[in-house]
């Protein structure tokens, strides 16, 4: 029988599988890597992102931690200080508040305090975001707290390809990183995609244009990217051509891609799920206003969560979170300005 050349597998993979593969491949590649978090071993994680890790890598490298977020982060810092690469899972990113001091004061500043002697390859990752009826404590997008704490990378992938490539990049970057996974995307079939079998990374700090357009620019990340895509489709029908930028990493931020788009469209709407005040949408608006003022033909707008917690029942939740409808409305105002 004649040998058949190996064909790349063309199976589509979801966002969660992509993340899981990233962890497994990095654990194989780097025997100095440790994973720890609540229920990540025997259970395989609340959502299954760490499924199979304990079996393959054993309980020294895959730690079922006590319910103690501050210790999970603090011990990760110690392991990294002593040469390890650590993935620390928050069961929900909302619980990161319980380990807040260790992140912003201990971990984020270690490289700075030691004038570079110490660097900490620690990725703190966990499921984030609203629209799932998770209520106040299972819906947060609290990335702004960390963007405001110098020394942390902040990453929010929106596709399986990016999820895998960015998680690998974050684990290899050598700086501490807060990695926001969008739990509503974990098993969403519509966004499953074929991803390369070969090792690849998506470099931190590179935005991507999800859809080209000429009249208005949407800047967003995470779930909001899909809302922007839907809004762009609506707008297309109304004769407005929207460009959609997915920034992917918030720190570092690829401003060039934004300004380049703006030099074409001269109008921008920034969309994210976090509360408005001091959120990252405001930061992008501020940078645009500071640095690209002369490119603007209309006020740089933002569509964000209202300044409220995320309430539980559906009508309330949808009322406070951004919707395609709201985005379209603001985009039309901006386009007509």
């Amino acid at each position: 029988m004649a040998a058949i050349a190996a064909e790349p597998t063309l199976v589509k993979k979801n966002y969660l599988t992509a993340l899981r593969e990233a962890l497994i491949e990095e654990m194989r590649r780097n025997d100095q890597m440790i994973c720890q978090g609540e229920d990540i071993g025997m259970l395989g994680g609340a959502f299954g992102v760490t499924e199979g890790l304990l079996d393959e890598f054993g309980s020294t490298r895959v730690i079922d931690a006590p319910i103690a977020e501050a210790a999970i982060i603090g011990t990760a810092v110690g392991m990294a200080l002593n040469g390890k690469t650590v993935m620390a899972e928050m069961q929900f990113i909302d619980f990161i508040s319980c380990g807040f001091d260790q992140i912003v004061n201990m971990m984020a500043t270690y490289h700075y305090r030691t004038a570079g002697e110490v660097n900490l390859p620690v990725v703190v990752r966990g499921p984030a975001g609203g629209y799932g009826g998770g209520a106040l404590y299972h819906s947060q997008m609290n990335e702004a707290w960390f963007c405001h704490s110098p020394g942390l990378r902040v990453v929010v992938p929106s596709t399986p390809y990016d999820a895998k490539g960015l998680l690998k990049a974050a684990l290899r970057d050598g700086n501490p990183c807060i990695f926001f996974e969008i739990k509503e995307l974990y098993r969403k079939n519509e966004i499953a995609e074929v991803i390369p079998d070969e090792d690849y990374i998506v470099p931190l700090g590179q935005a991507v244009i999800r859809k080209e357009g000429t009249d208005i620019t949407f800047v967003s990340y995470g779930q909001s990217v899909y809302h922007c895509m839907s809004a762009a489709a609506e707008l297309e029908k109304l004769g407005v051509s929207a460009e959609v930028i997915d920034i992917r990493t918030l720190v570092p931020l690829d401003e060039e891609t934004i300004y380049k788009s703006l030099s074409k469209t001269n109008r921008v709407v920034v969309v994210n799920e976090a509360p408005m005040t001091c959120g990252f949408a405001g930061e992008i608006v501020a940078r645009i206003a500071n640095n690209a003022f002369n490119l603007l033909d209309a006020p740089p707008a933002r569509v964000t969560r209202l300044d409220t917690p995320v309430p539980w029942v559906k009508p309330l939740e949808l009322h406070v979170l951004p919707s395609v409808e709201k985005i379209v409305r603001v985009a039309l105002q901006t386009a007509k300005y």
Partner: protein
């Protein structure tokens, strides 16, 4: 029944005074027949509430995660039964029945009773506007200032400092309220547990920390989160009593909690009461299938053998409070949610919950605009 109190490391000093009570002067031995039958019915009610919710959830009529209290009812019923209406509690995710059990004694049908009504609790479970918090936060985060039930966040052990503050204020007012704060054994690893219990111990506050040790914190067994033989041993670090109760035996729970409450109310300070139990299902209903992976089914079956309803039934027969025929009337124990039917429960229990559910179904959803309301108290 075991003597009060038992602890893992028996020699710990501050327990001595609580241990003085003899077998016969145990608080539970002083309960009347009426009390005991009420307790029996409350166990049925807690069980029925849980299996009914499981059924409703399976039918797709409920949103959110259901953390079953099946097999842990004796802890809730036994701990709450001896409280005063002026006492406070802080239940968490696995304690839904606590909301209507507090202050409900002999008053299930009395609309003027001080406790939270079954209607309010069901309205919360169904996410309707007639819930006390207008369904803004999910299921188990219900509470009520006027009913003295502290609203939890999801952040485990996070209500303990709040509970300590509540009784600090009460004591300042000359009150004698005690607070029972409920927590899983896994949650005792949280830093806030330490800070709060330490604060309560320094100030000798009447805070009784109930630890429901169901052996598992989601997919993590107790020994991976707690280094001591008993979780109650954590008390030794604060110089306070750490009691261990048989969480399957409602009267043992009652005895130990009442001892701790008495200790607290008389100004002697906080304590920890660990109730040993076993989680009947997965962590939440989403986990029922996966749970088999980390917890072999034999372990689950073994864990369920000591059903709190059966154990209570035996006690009541022993004390002559139930005749053979009465005892055989309703047998809910050892039946899973899919096996049990309404006939396994006393009609008063079924009717009570039906009333709550009907109310909930008729209650509307809150208006969308409410999502933006009450971020701040508005000052005129």
């Amino acid at each position: 029944m075991s003597v009060i109190p038992t602890t893992g490391t028996a020699a710990f000093e501050p327990l001595a005074e609580i241990a003085e009570s003899t077998n016969d002067s145990r608080p539970s031995q002083l309960l009347t027949k009426e009390d005991c039958l009420e307790i029996f019915n409350q166990l049925y009610l807690a069980r029925y509430f849980d299996i009914r919710l499981i059924k409703e959830k399976k039918r797709g009529r409920l949103r959110g995660t259901l953390y079953s209290s099946h097999n842990q009812e004796a802890i809730l019923v036994g701990a709450l039964f001896g409280l005063k209406a002026t006492d406070w509690i802080s239940p968490i995710h696995r304690d839904m029945p606590a909301f209507f059990l507090k202050d409900s004694k002999f008053q299930w049908d009395d609309p003027t009773r001080s406790g939270m009504s079954i209607e309010e609790v069901c309205a919360q479970v169904w996410g309707k506007v007639d819930s006390p918090g207008r369904a803004r936060d999910n299921w188990s985060h219900i509470g009520s200032k006027s009913k003295r039930i502290i609203h939890s966040t999801s952040m485990l052990a996070g209500t303990i400092p709040v509970a300590a503050g509540v009784v600090y204020a009460d004591r300042m007012n000359g009150g004698d309220a005690v607070v029972l704060t409920f927590n899983g054994e896994g949650s005792t690893a949280q830093g806030i547990f330490h800070e709060a219990v330490n604060f309560a111990a320094v100030h000798k506050l009447p805070v009784v920390t109930i630890v429901e040790n169901n052996q598992w914190a989601y997919g993590t067994p107790v020994h991976m989160g707690c280094p001591t033989p008993d979780v109650a041993d954590r008390a030794h670090g604060y110089g306070i009593p750490g009691l261990v109760a048989d969480g399957q035996d409602v009267f043992d729970v009652y005895d130990k909690v009442m001892a701790a409450v008495e200790h607290a109310r008389s100004g002697k300070g906080p304590s920890i009461v660990e109730c040993k139990t076993f989680r009947a299902y997965g962590h939440g209903d989403h986990d029922d299938d996966r749970a088999m992976k980390y917890r072999p089914s034999e372990e689950i079956e073994k864990g369920r053998t000591r059903d709190p309803i059966a154990i209570c039934r035996e006690s009541l027969i022993e004390r002559g409070f139930l005749s053979g025929a009465e005892a055989e009337q309703y047998i809910a124990e050892r039946k899973s949610a899919s096996e049990a039917t309404n006939d396994d429960f006393p009609p008063v229990v079924v009717e009570y919950l039906n009333r709550g559910i009907e109310f909930a179904l008729n209650s509307p959803l809150p208006n969308a605009e409410e999502g933006a309301m009450w971020v701040f108290k508005e000052n005129a």
